[in-house]
């Protein structure tokens, strides 16, 4: 009764305020004005009424009410949202959302709420967002209901579900409804049905809901819920394994990138290049220099800096590689242990050179936007950066394979590797092929450096962290066999990632090292050993 009377009293005022206001706006205005009227119980009814209108404006109004920011202006009895602190508060008209000047707190009357009202507001809010015209908001509302399991929202959810057209959101809402049913005091039969619906969902949140339901007093529900929880747990375990495989492939691709250059210099030439890691480092620093230069010269190309850095890094590392081969390594062919020592010394020199030029601290290399972010495949999270590195590693691998198998240079390389005197007798300039092969291996290390600059710290010690792993991959896979390197890198990456949850990252790595040490004892020439005369 009092509501009607109040409405009658206020309507003329409101009509005067919104001369051009539509019937809808007027309706909203009434509902909003009702919030300010009467005691707590009337306000409760008003909140529900406002919420069931499904108006988009109702959301900020209710939020403000809940936060204690909804006021009535004493001068004209308008409901306003007041923001800010201090004496002067900025006002926004609650109904239209338009700026409404400012006022001090003395001119305003706060619309009071208590905890019971806040509860009503929360339920009303979820109902409102469930009816929101924006499908994204509706989906988010359903998801949040699922995790909050607020049984009082059940009615609103049912209503929303009846109105919902989008199949995906319907699905989310059905799942949320099941979770709510489980949290409510619905009859056991309904709950058992709900368990089935939640089980369908099968993610970590579902497991939480089911575990809560498994503590239900009803035996039937309890049994259904614990069985479902077990099923979900198993499914999650399978997803976890799949996620680990992906992480392993991702780590494997990094290992592959670092090792593939080595597979050429060590695998086909038999040169132990301890400075290989430093070639990787040079590639990473090339990326840094390219980015710095682009930033000052052509900032619009920044997104492409990584791609621009690729050929440059290949050239820089490759050129340094050719230089090393011509000045040091060619004098040491047939003395692998000496090569090892000389290139180790070289790696120290290169590290110190980079440290002197760029400083000992980490250098910032930014990632382009197309390499950041992530997406989900089922329950597996895939980051774009890692995905690109996997793709890139495979690209490099395939290119290298084609280069070795299909081009004249590749033919010469294989010829020189297999039988140097005969190749020389056939007119191949073996010294030149040696230099080019070494340059190629080093250049690929440079490419790896560009990729690693995206996921690792660019510092003078970058290369050292990869050199032992790279040798492990090459030796494990089988020297002189590119496919062995590919499989070796992937296998080691996956094994590493599967060991990590049980043994921890460091112990996992130690176990892998020990495993390789033992493996080499069993098969001293790796997984795919070269056979035939060229072996010894």
């Amino acid at each position: 009764m009092s509501q009607k009377r109040l409405l009658a009293g206020l309507l003329p005022v409101l009509a005067a305020l919104f001369v051009a206001g539509s019937a809808m706006a007027a309706d909203l205005a009434t509902l909003v004005a009702n919030l300010a009227a009467g005691g707590y119980s009337e306000r409760d009814a008003a909140i529900t009424a406002l919420a069931s209108s499904g108006e988009a404006r109702a959301v900020p109004v209710l939020q403000a009410l809940s936060a204690g920011e909804l006021y009535v202006r004493t001068a004209d009895k308008t409901v306003v949202i007041a923001k800010g602190s201090g004496k002067q508060l900025a006002l926004v008209d609650a109904v239209t959302g338009k700026d409404s000047g400012s006022a001090t707190e003395d001119d305003l009357d706060r619309i009071k709420v208590n905890n019971r009202l806040r509860g009503t507001i929360d339920a009303a809010m979820s109902a409102l967002t469930l009816m929101n015209p924006d499908p994204k908001v509706r989906r988010a509302a359903a998801e949040s209901l699922f995790t909050r399991r607020d049984a009082s929202a059940l009615e609103a959810l049912d209503k929303a579900l009846a109105a919902e057209k989008d199949l995906g959101i319907r699905q989310a809402m059905t799942e949320a409804r099941a979770a709510l049913v489980l949290a409510s005091d619905a009859p056991a039969a309904q709950k058992v049905q709900a368990v089935a619906a939640v089980r369908e969902r099968g993610d970590r949140d579902a497991l939480g809901v089911l575990q809560a339901a498994a503590a239900s007093p009803d035996a039937e529900v309890r049994a259904a819920a614990s069985a479902a929880a077990e099923a979900v747990r198993q499914r999650l375990g399978a997803w976890q394994a799949a996620q680990n495989v992906w992480y392993g492939i991702s780590l494997g691709s990094v290992l592959l990138l670092a090792a593939i250059g080595l597979a050429i210099t060590f695998g086909t030439m038999g040169v132990i290049n301890m400075a290989h890691g430093e070639m990787v480092m040079l590639g990473a620093y090339t990326t840094f220099v390219v980015q710095q230069t682009l930033r000052s010269v052509a900032p619009q190309l920044n997104e492409l800096s990584v791609i621009i850095a690729l050929p440059l890094a290949f050239l820089v590392s490759g050129a340094v590689g050719v230089l090393i081969e011509r000045s040091i390594i060619r004098f040491l062919y047939g003395r692998p242990l000496d090569t090892l020592l000389a290139t180790w010394g070289l790696s120290l020199v290169l590290q110190q050179a980079v440290r002197s030029i760029f400083g000992p601290t980490n250098r910032e290399v930014s990632s382009p936007s197309w390499m950041s972010g992530s997406f989900h495949v089922g329950q597996i999270e895939v980051t774009y950066g890692r995905l690109w590195i996997v793709v890139f590693a495979l690209l490099v691998f395939v290119t290298l394979l084609l280069l070795l198998r299909k081009t004249p240079l590749g033919l010469y390389m294989r010829a020189v590797t297999q039988n140097r005197p005969m190749a020389s007798a056939m007119g191949i300039r073996t010294p030149r092929v040696d230099a080019l092969t070494f340059g190629l291996g080093s250049g690929i290390a440079g490419l790896a450096g560009v990729a690693l600059s995206q996921i690792d710290n660019v510092s003078p010690n970058l290369g050292q962290g990869y050199i032992i792993d790279s040798f492990m991959v090459v030796v494990f896979g089988g020297v002189g066999n590119l496919f062995g390197t590919l499989l070796g890198a992937t296998a080691l990456g996956i094994v590493n990632k599967f060991l990590e949850p049980y043994a921890g990252a460091v112990l996992g790595k130690i176990l892998v090292l020990v495993f390789i040490i033992l493996f080499i004892q069993r098969r001293p020439r790796g997984m795919f050993a070269q056979k035939g005369r060229s072996v010894e």
């Binding site: 040491l332 020592l341 180790w344 010394g345 020199v349 590290q351 032992i468 492990m472 004892q521 069993r522």
Partner: protein, 371 residues
Amino acid sequence: MITRFLWTGMGRNLRLFVLLVLAVGIVVPLLNQLLPKGSAVYVPSYMLQLIGKYLCYASLALAVDLVWGFCGILSLGHAAFFALGGYCMGMYLMRQIGTRGVYGNPVLPDFMVFLNYKELPWFWHGFDHFWFAAAMIVIAPSLLALALGWFAFRSRVTGVYLSIITQAMTFALLLAFFRNDMGFGGNNGLTDFKDILGYSVQSDTTRAALCFASALALALFLVVSGAVVGSRFGKALTAVRDAESRMRFLGYRVEGYKLFVFVLSAAMAGIAGALYVPQVGIINPSEFAPGNSIEAVLWVAVGGRGTLIGPVIGAFLVNFAKTYLTGALPEVWLFALGALFIVVTLLLPKGIVGLWAQLRARDAAKKASAA
């Protein structure tokens, strides 16, 4: 009888060199202990410590040379044996601290109290006694070498592959000792030592004694290595280095030769490490770093591989340069070290001792042609 055999087994140069090492080991500590601080030939304490350290490095270099120079096994993990010996000594020294640690716990060393250990891990028992620690200093590295060598040599892992395996081994140990759960002090290692055999490790007298002990150990290693290398066994060893397959075809059990010398060398490295730790006052996982092992190989290469005197000279020269350069021109040190690696392998494959021999041979040839 045995001493006479050992003594006569050595060449004249080596005999003189052993006497020289012993003389250094006696004279340097005496100059520090007996002379007043102002004297012209007084050896300051830091110098005493430095020479003690170099003597340990020289022992490590000799150990590397024994396997590399005489048997062709390039071990890139000898610092691991050195560090293991060091850790055994460190554990003994930790047990000697007793209640004088920061936490004053009578049973647990400080880092264990800090890491919430409830009781002493089983592998720490026994290290209260010096004899036990001394035994472990030899046993721990030897066992590791035995296990690795037994597997590797039997399956004929040779050359670079062996080098890479040994490097992986020391890298794995580096990672393992960095872990706090291992019970070896993790990142910080073992330090804050107080006493060794009841004498304070900080005092000059103890340092002088340790310096002498290091010289004695080096001299002993030189004599033992000389005996091994000079014997029939040593001849076979060199033959294995130069033509392993042929030795095998001739009926020698090559694995046995390699394994013996590898284990002997590991034990020597372990003792060197044990003497090193009380002199520097700390042992931490960075001693396992692969770079350390390779540096030890460089000392051998600089001095002259395949000679017994060379590694000692190399260790002293390179480390003296390191001490000087890292102090005076820290930027230059890594350049110098790197360049040294390259120059020695390219131009001086036989090291300084080899160069000297070469020069003398040329002199002799000149004289002969002049006459």
